[in-house]
Amino acid sequence: MKLPPSVSRTGRALLVPLTTVVIAFVVAGLVMGLTGTNPFKTYVSIFDGTGLNWLFPWVGGQTRTIASQDLQQTLVATAPLILTGLAVAFAFRAGLFNIGAQGQYTVGSVLAIWVGTSFTHMNPVLHIVASIVAAALIGGAWAALAGWLKAVVGTHEVISTIMLNWIAIWVATYLFQENGPLQGKQALGNPVSNTLPNNVHLPVFWGNPALQGLDVGIFIGLAAAVVFWAIMNRSTLGYEVRAVGHNPDAARGAGINVARNYVVTMAICGAFAGLASSVDVLGWQFQVSTADISGSQVGFLGIAVALLGRNTAIGTVAAALLFGALETGTAADNINASVINPELAPQLTLIIEGLVVLLVSTDLIAVRLLGLPRRLGLGRPEPGADLAQALEPDDAAAQAAAVEGFDAGPATTGL
């Protein structure tokens, strides 16, 4: 299938992600059909569950009210996904694979809830800011540890961030568990932290705070995306990060301190992940339980969000919105139980997410279906190409990349 030449370049560029998502939905629909669920009704139900039908002017009355609540949920779920997505994407741009967003998120939520529930005599606005900043700082420090280990002793960041994830999770579980040092005073046998006082909640600006309306966390996420873009594309730091990501040897040859770059990059990533936790804790959780710690996937999903968003700011925001909508649309209480088993729906989300990410891993759609030129893997941030060289302290991969030719495109890593 080739597109007629009348379709503009931007039109084609937009078609790629759209087609990707459509194909993923079709394949997932086939899975449903084969297992005896009606895919059309399911998709309508999921769509209504996301609240995106609120955007249709003809939807009114009670449905509209519910839709607005669902849309608020979708956006509440989107905010932390943007932030963890940025946490992973920033590292990819520097050629680092940050699997550790989950751990950075976890230490962030510990500090966010601790600061938020301590210092009760603080000015509320300052208190909120202090809690957010504390979460970002500890997340940054936690991630910087991995960057430091890579810079100083050459420890592969994949190992260190995986280990730091689990260390964070167990330490946090210890803190909030029964008789743990940070278990809430009112918790009475529940493994949960103190509860945030009302004046330390992020303000809700759309919907009913009691029904978990939309808090300003989404703006923190969007602002972070803008900051990400500005640092990456308009600052000397971002220029250095990209240079190191593409070719650490050339960066070193140009006088860039590659080791320092790894530490700074990871610190920024961790700060994004820490922010994500503060948005959740101050936005709607208001307390942290051991189940929250072990059950959270937002950091891991950040990897998929970043990859789907091709490690750009705008792409990450769009991917986070898609993932947030899917999670909300398939949440058990949003799904019509007569259409699909509410337990099945979240699994469906994972399948769709997996398919989408799988399809973006290659130029399949762009090249074969839409007739776009094969991406050269240049100029655009390609996580793999960057990775190959950054994971590669010596010269082999860089050489190989040069030898392999540039049409090797978006796909090298030296794990």
Binding site: V31, T35, I99, V153, G154, T155, H156, V158, I159, S160, I162, M163, L164, N165, W166, I167, W170, V171, T173, Y174, Q177, E178, A304, L307, E343, L344, Q347, L348, L350, I351, G354, L355, V356, V357, L358, S361, T362, L364, P383, G384, L387, L391, E392, P393, D394, A396, A397, Q399, A400, A401, V403, E404, G405, A408, G409, A411, T412, T413, G414, L415
Partner: protein, 402 residues
């Protein structure tokens, strides 16, 4: 012409490295003095040894070539001190219960087994030049289909084969995307993990519903070794309670090593992972070999999954691999893409996990904190001993035929 050559000194002065290693040994002794079977009831000898090791470590640190060794020496020397104090503060019955070494070995092997399988899979795939971040997903489908097969066919052998086939299929998908479509292998691997979580969850709900997998299924059996099951210590450690898949996994380590480094086929595989273009020029089949390696990798990882579900647990649950695939990935890097190195990593990890569980005897509250021990130890070991590691040169780079 006569020249007077200086006599080499009779006893060569010990190198910094040797001194450091002696200090590490001292620190290790400090660790075990208060544990069974020695069970010293005073921390003093351990403290003396630990401090000595740490002091030597500081000296080693000053040699810029051996910073890492020095750091490790100081760390383990100093850790020995609170450890010894803690142990001597506990009742000796408690200490004996926690450090029942035969039980530690038995449960350490349990924790290590799924990792060994997945890590071997990871090594084979990466040695051929394809990064496999999807190990986690391949294990997970092994978990589900192992149980499913055992249930449907009423046979653990068929369960194992079906589980293996499911991992192979997922490997084939990864291979198709990363080799044929030249996908970004990290992205494809992450996708594989998401897909596997979704597919197994979906099928689990659709097929088993709320009741979960049946309680009594034909499970992969434990092996009772003749003779050894009558020898003290060994009987409890490995004589009776060790799973068939554990033994096979352990045996596979030297087999895979021998294949990679002592056979022509292994040499070809490594050549393709280092210099695919050169390998292709001399007539090696890059694409076919990589397909084979990735599919094999999926099958091996899936068998690790089968062990988890049908070997150890006897049931399946959502996302039951719980990050083990990533630990295996870490083991691959830790072991520098060598089966024995990866084995060392999985053993370190498995045994410290086992110890962490047993340490809960001392304190339920602190027990949770001890759960972090395997990860802390792995991190220290990697930072302290392994350092920089170099992956196969072409790993992650799609092969484009000229």
């Amino acid at each position: 012409m006569t020249t007077v050559t200086k006599q080499p000194p009779r006893v060569a002065a010990p190198t910094t490295k040797q001194i450091g290693i002696v200090a590490v040994v001292l620190a290790a002794i400090a660790w075990v003095l208060t544990l069974p079977p020695i069970m010293a009831r005073t921390p003093v000898p351990s403290i003396v040894l630990g401090v000595t090791a740490a002091v030597i470590g500081v000296a080693v640190l000053r040699d810029s070539n051996h910073r890492r060794l020095g750091g490790v020496t100081v760390a383990i020397g100093l850790i020995a001190i609170p450890l010894a104090i803690a142990m001597t503060n506990q009742t000796s019955a408690n200490v004996r219960e926690v450090f029942t070494w035969s039980a530690v070995v038995a449960s350490g092997l349990t924790f290590a087994t799924p990792l060994i399988w997945a890590a071997l899979g990871g090594i084979i795939s990466e040695r051929s030049g394809v990064v496999n971040v999807g190990l986690e997903g391949m294990m997970l489908v092994g978990c589900y289909f192992g149980i499913f097969g055992a249930d449907v066919c009423s046979s653990w052998v068929l369960g194992m084969l079906i589980g293996m086939a499911s991992g192979g299929l997922l490997g084939l998908l990864h291979a198709y995307f990363s080799i044929h479509l030249r996908a970004n292998q990290v992205v494809s691997g992450v996708a594989i993990n998401l897909l596997a979580t979704g597919i197994t969850g979906y099928l689990f709900v659709a097929h088993y519903g709320d009741n979960g997998t049946p309680g009594t299924l034909p499970q992969v059996p434990n092996v009772t070794l003749p003779v050894i099951d009558h020898i003290t210590f060994l009987d409890d450690a490995v004589g009776r309670q060790t799973n068939l898949l554990t033994w096979v996994g352990l045996l596979l380590v030297p087999v895979v090593w021998w294949y990679l480094f002592r056979t022509r086929a292994g040499l070809r595989l490594r050549a393709i992972g280092e210099q695919p273009r050169a390998a292709s020029t001399v007539g090696l089949k890059v694409v076919a070999t990589r397909y084979g390696a990735v599919v094999t990798s999926g099958m091996l990882a899936a068998l690790g999954g089968v062990y988890l579900s049908d070997g150890f647990d006897g049931s399946f649950n959502f996302d039951m691999t719980d990050g083990r695939g990533f630990i295996a990935l870490a083991a691959v890097i830790f072991g520098k893409w060598n089966p024995f190195g990866a084995l060392a990593a999985t053993i370190l990890f498995g045994f410290s996990t086992a110890l962490a569980y047993r340490l809960q005897t001392f304190s339920q509250t602190l027990g949770t904190l001890f759960q972090a021990l395997p990860y802390v130890l792995t991190l220290i070991a990697v930072a302290g001993l392994i350092g920089r590691s170099r992956p196969p040169a072409a790993s992650g780079i799609p092969y484009v035929k000229e």
